[in-house]
């Protein structure tokens, strides 16, 4: 994180939340719409049957009342919702998008990849306790809601998605504003600005960003260090379980080629995936030849290749959100494996996906002095 950014984040606003955090956040958003600071809000809401949540673009305040700034599940990665509205241009509406930090970061990545225009979008993230695996939630939505609320209060991540349990960026401020609930006094929360856009918005709302946010920073540091250790340990174990070709093949042996992981991945934005394209469709003699060389081949033969290929394509931008793993019908720990690889590839370039809109994607930036240690490698 560059210094000027960090300076921006040493102060914030303290917002009173006597009527509840959720209600106060909605109140804050209503105020933003009333004052014309933004025209619409992109936020989660319960679906009509009440058994899940979806992103909704809201203009009408009577609908906003039922919004859920921090839903217990991530049914659709928020970056995909932002991209669907702004992929073809910035439009005339100013939209405040309330999402989790990994969703904000994925949105930043999509912006770098030319898949969303953020000019009229205000990205607002929140301290995130994690999300429940969607199948766990759906098995009993009422119980799921209660479990999530309890776990959030206790900062207990055991029931969350496995990647959420090892997420060290659950309070990363990457958008324009961030809502900090950690370290806040009872019935309050912090609002922290991370951009000029954020500052201007707060100014228009007449909210000063002068309060001390040390308690938030201390708590965040604490949690993120703890999670980082857990992450390293989990990745180390995973590496020994999945390392080497045999283990790798075993890990993906259950894959059925549904490509759900790719479809729900916020970074996999290709309209037609290479692995669904004509390139991978071979004449029958080719398949038979391959079978003959080994005695037998799995069909489709490119099952593991798809996983490796997708990993190559998106690991530098992977935000470890876990959408892939949630959508895998075969319960393959895709998100954990991808987060392990992402940490390593991003580490090579000192890059953190979605951290900063100004940081170019490593593969589009050429640095003469980069990766010299590889040059002499034989």
């Amino acid at each position: 994180m560059n210094e000027s950014k960090d300076n921006l984040k040493t102060k914030g606003a303290v917002i009173s939340a006597k009527s509840g955090t959720k209600e106060s956040i909605i109140g804050f958003l209503e105020k933003g719409m009333d004052k014309g600071v933004f025209d619409a809000v992109l936020i989660s809401m319960r679906v009509p049957a009440g058994d899940s949540f979806a992103y909704v673009l809201i203009k009408d305040e009577s609908i906003l009342k039922d919004a859920f700034p921090l839903p217990p599940v991530m049914s659709v990665q928020g970056a995909k919702a932002v991209s669907s509205v702004t992929r073809l241009g910035k439009g005339n509406m100013k939209i405040a998008a309330i999402m989790r930090p990994c969703e904000t970061r994925a949105t930043v990545e999509l912006s770098k990849l030319g898949q969303t225009d953020l000019e009229n979008i205000i990205l607002i993230s929140m301290d995130c306790p994690g999300v429940l695996p969607i199948s766990d939630f759906l098995s009993d939505p009422n119980k799921g809601m209660k479990l999530f609320d309890d776990a959030t209060k206790k900062l207990d991540d055991k029931i969350m998605r496995p990647v959420c349990q090892i997420c060290d960026k659950s309070s990363m401020v990457a958008g324009d504003l961030h809502i900090g609930t950690l370290g806040a006094k009872k019935d309050t929360f912090f609002i922290i600005s991370n951009s000029k856009k954020g500052n201007e918005l707060m100014e228009k709302l007449g909210i000063d960003l002068k309060e001390n946010i040390d308690s938030w920073q201390a708590k965040v540091k604490n949690i993120s260090e703890e999670k980082q250790n857990k992450r390293k340990k989990t990745h180390k174990d995973l590496k020994s379980e999945t390392g080497g070709l045999d283990n790798l093949l075993d890990t993906f042996s259950q894959c059925i080629n549904c490509h759900n992981c790719m479809r729900v991945c916020p970074i996999c934005y290709c309209r037609l995936c290479y692995f669904d394209s004509d390139k991978v469709k071979r004449p029958s003699e080719d398949y038979l030849q391959r079978a003959e060389s080994k005695g037998s081949i799995r069909f489709l033969p490119d099952t593991t290749l798809f996983q490796m290929g997708r990993m190559m394509h998106m690991s530098l931008s992977c935000v470890s959100c876990g959408a892939c793993e949630d959508a895998c019908p075969m319960s393959i720990p895709v998100a954990q494996i991808f987060s392990m690889i992402a940490d390593e590839t991003q580490g090579l370039f000192d890059y953190v996906s979605g951290r900063n809109l100004e940081e170019p994607l490593p593969l589009v930036a050429y640095k003469e002095e980069e990766l010299q240690e590889m040059e002499d490698a034989k």
Binding site: A40, L42, V47, P48, A49, D51, S52, A54, Y55, V56, L57, I58, K59, D60, I63, S75, V76, A81, S84, V85, L88, G89, K90, G91, N92, M93, I134, S135, D250, S253, Q254, I256, N257, C258, H259, N260, R263, V264, R271, L272, D276, S277, D278, K281, S284, E285, L288, A291, E292, G295, S296, R298, F299, L300, T303, D326, A327, C328, P329, M330
Partner: protein, 369 residues
């Protein structure tokens, strides 16, 4: 009277013998069947050319990791197989492949089909959590008795198309109480007879026991009625549809695994389904709130319209749905009602044309006025 081949081995062993024979005698170049591919017992379709590799094959395994029709389409999409290949598939997989061939997505040439009377398959979840192995004996006990095994894919529970239409050979499974001791393969045509010539076994004049089949049919029928009635109550009207599809996360996994959804790029992933910011602004002005990405229900109903005449009710869609929408029953129910209008059974006969590409002057006259 049709011919049959009796091998005095367990049914699975008998089929493996036959496959081995076909490979060793060079009658086929390859065998396409389910096979254990990992130490932890994962099962996937495989293309086998060396007889030794058959040791891990599990042709009758009650699981459909991918609809084989889709895989055979991939195998023959770029032209028919130059070499003969025998495929062991389930009846709905064979029907799906026939539909795909009609849709010009594959070729039947040089392929031989071994199918069976099918007891159904277990949901993929059982393979994912490793409980399938424990359930196998329960499965075969039910099949032997001509009963519907419990805990099947819901599409399988009420499937009345458990007997293959166009297989060259049909393995007798449903209601066959000596599955463990004897393998009975019905040779449905000349191809089947030619292929099995020389196999160690007894050739008989014997047809499939219609009584057993009819009894099983009745059980399936009543199960289907239950499933259909349930889904009908749940999906009534626009509100019902919104309720049932509301939790869809838009992964489109259902379309990706559907054997009939062969489009390289689905309409609903194309630029036709992308909207300009101004479209959102106009809609938002009208409605005050708008789900994004939009088109959740539109996608489901669109796909339903596109695949419904060819839907074979295999249940692959529901099995991959991360949010457990009862897709297979909805699609099967709508599919059957549309298919009935045209007296069409998808995949029954390669010569029957897909209803939507044939025009019959006398058709639907009742709708005209």
């Amino acid at each position: 009277m049709t011919k049959a081949l009796k091998i005095n081995k367990s049914t699975e062993q008998g089929i493996l013998e036959l496959l081995k024979f076909l490979l060793e005698k060079g009658k086929v170049k390859g065998v396409f069947t389910l096979k254990k591919i990992s130490n932890d017992g994962a099962v996937a379709y495989s293309l086998i050319t060396k007889p030794d590799e058959l040791k891990d094959a599990v042709p009758l395994y009650p699981l459909m990791p991918t609809n084989a029709g889709k895989l055979l389409s991939r195998f023959t999409l770029k032209g028919s197989s130059n070499e003969p290949v025998a495929a062991v598939v389930k009846p709905c997989e064979l029907r799906a492949f026939i539909e795909l061939v009609k849709l010009e997505q594959g070729s039947l040439e040089n392929l031989f089909f071994i199918s069976s009377t099918c007891g159904g398959v277990y949901p993929l979840k059982m393979a994912a959590d490793g409980t399938i192995e424990k359930n196998l004996s329960k499965y075969w006990d039910a099949v032997k008795k001509g009963e519907i095994p419990t805990d099947l894919r819901s599409a399988c529970k009420g499937c009345e198309e458990f007997k293959p239409y166009t297989a060259d050979m049909t393995v007798d499974l449903i209601g066959k109480n000596d599955i463990d001791k004897q393998c009975m393969i019905f040779l449905n045509n000349k191809k089947g007879e030619e292929l099995t010539k020389g196999v160690k076994g007894e050739f008989l004049e014997k047809a499939i026991d219609k009584g057993k089949i009819d009894k099983f049919q009745i059980k399936r029928e009543s199960e289907k009625k239950k499933l259909f009635d349930e889904i009908e109550a749940k999906t009534k009207g626009m509100d019902g549809l919104i309720e049932i599809f509301g939790k869809c996360i838009g992964c489109h996994g259902c379309s990706n695994v559907c054997p009939i959804c062969y489009c390289k790029l689905c309409e609903f992933d194309s630029s036709d389904s992308e909207y300009k910011p101004s479209n959102y602004e106009i809609e938002l002005k009208k409605r005050g709130g708008l789900r994004v990405p939009p088109g959740t229900l539109y996608y489901q109903l669109g796909r339903l319209t596109h695949v419904t005449v060819s839907c074979v009710g295999c249940g692959a869609c529901e099995d991959v749905c991360p949010v457990d929408i009862p897709l297979s029953i909805i699609f099967k129910k709508v599919g059957e009602s549309v298919q009935k209008m045209f007296e069409y059974v998808p995949g029954r006969d390669i010569k029957e044309e897909i209803p939507l590409i044939t025009f019959e002057e006398e058709e639907f006259t009742e709708v005209e006025d």
